[in-house]
């Protein structure tokens, strides 16, 4: 089937198998490999992207469901020279170690700051429930999100 979607501001029309997942289109067709796949069970959040402005797990969306959608991935939020304030806050606060969970964490955190109420430590932890990190113990991730909140 043919689908059209806008990814990081560019429109793409592509022919895909009916049973493909959005994350497969993003990684394998568009070569945007910043979006990671960390599990098979829709639990880790490494694949989090924005679909029409809200955080979703792209491993649990069929390509057909994303037809016509506006998608933003980690590649679409900042550049190496001009990081997004959330990326900068993760760097400043040492909020990553291996970095595998980081793209998903950052996409979730941006949605949390942009679309939620003012955050405190507890609400950041609750808001990032859908993102697992096996390295950091979360402490510095929470610090980074609170720091970014003031700069976004």
């Amino acid at each position: 089937m043919e689908i059209s979607l806008t990814v990081n501001g560019t429109e793409h029309t592509t022919d895909v198998p009916d049973n493909s997942l959005l994350v497969e289109i993003i990684r394998e067709r568009l070569n945007l490999t910043g979006t990671h796949v960390g599990c098979d069970t829709s639990q880790c959040g490494a694949c989090t992207i924005h679909m029409d402005g809200r955080s979703v797990k792209s491993c649990t969306v069929l390509a057909g469901q994303a037809d016509g959608a506006d998608i933003t991935t980690i590649e679409g939020i900042g550049t190496v020279d001009a990081l997004h304030p959330m990326q900068e806050a993760f760097r400043e606060n040492h909020a990553l170690q291996c970095g595998f969970c980081t793209p998903g964490m950052i996409m979730s955190a941006i949605d949390l700051v942009e679309n939620g109420k003012p955050l405190d430590e507890r609400s950041v932890r609750e808001g990032l429930e859908g993102n697992l990190c096996r390295c950091t113990g979360y402490h510095n991730i929470v610090k980074a999100v609170l720091d970014a909140q003031d700069k976004m």
Partner: protein, 259 residues
């Protein structure tokens, strides 16, 4: 995932026709249950019929009830409405990304033993509106992943009568947030109702709690009441006996919230 044909009909009749024509069709709403199931190869439908093109979303307030469209997202119910216990319940489902996709219709049609909404459907005495007629909450949940929904029928909305007061408390699985046990206690215009999820094969009413609370709506009224856990779920997360204990604890916490 096994191969399947994907369809996105834009009206209800077309959706039902596609289901009738399919060899082994399945409806898709948010996909937060169905897609993990397909990925794990636990299901192999020939056709997946995406309902997201149907106009079944939104929350509507009438004089004494709230009607929630089947495609309304958990995040939309969580954002707040006239039944605060229901928005609190929705806010405690899974995680933000799951709430941004999952729908009330999908949750109810699925009747997962650990799903949250069924406790509210039962406790508030809701009506499930479907393309094959309306079904009373007391008749809807029939067993593990089993409901009174007719084959091929679509849940279109759920109507919740506004309660006098109601509260939901759950003991979440620490990883998935599904209810190990969840209890909603409601004082409704039809009397006190207690809906339990997570404990048994599907949501049910804890009638002895209802009677005790009807006489005396207080935490103390629940002291010493028995919960028959013989048919409860037993797994690595909790034994049937422990779930039986949790029903009492969650019910007392819910009553404490609103007294």
């Amino acid at each position: 995932m096994y191969r399947f044909n994907y369809h996105k009909p834009d009206d209800m009749d077309a959706a039902q026709q596609m289901m009738a024509d399919a060899e082994d069709g399945v409806y898709l709403s948010g996909g937060m249950t169905l897609i993990p199931t397909l990925k794990a190869r636990l299901a192999s439908p020939t056709d997946v019929i995406d309902l997201s093109g149907l106009a079944l979303s939104g929350i509507e307030l009438a004089d004494d009830s709230l009607t929630i469209g089947a495609l309304t997202l958990h995040s939309e119910v969580a954002a707040g409405n006239e039944i605060s216990s229901l928005s609190n319940l929705a806010l405690a489902i899974g995680d933000a990304q799951v709430r941004n996709r999952g729908t009330i219709g999908g949750s109810i049609a699925n009747s997962d033993p650990g799903a949250d909404y069924p406790a509210a459907v039962v406790a508030l005495g809701a009506t499930i509106n479907t393309t094959a007629g309306a079904i009373d909450a007391d008749d809807f949940f029939q067993g593990l992943f089993e409901t009174a929904l007719k084959p091929g029928a679509i849940v279109t909305s759920v109507t919740f009568p506004l309660p006098v007061r109601a509260a939901y408390e759950k003991f979440p699985n620490p990883a998935s947030r599904y209810a190990v046990v969840g209890v909603m206690v409601a004082e409704t215009n039809g009397g006190v109702r207690v809906g339990v999820t997570g404990a048994g094969p599907c949501a049910y009413r804890q009638r002895n709690f209802e009677q005790a609370l009807a006489d005396n709506f207080s935490v103390a009224a629940l002291d010493g009441l028995e919960v028959d856990y013989a048919e409860f779920n037993s797994d690595i997360h909790a034994s049937a006996e422990y779930r039986g204990h949790l029903v009492g604890v969650m019910a007392r916490r819910a009553v404490a919230q609103i007294t």
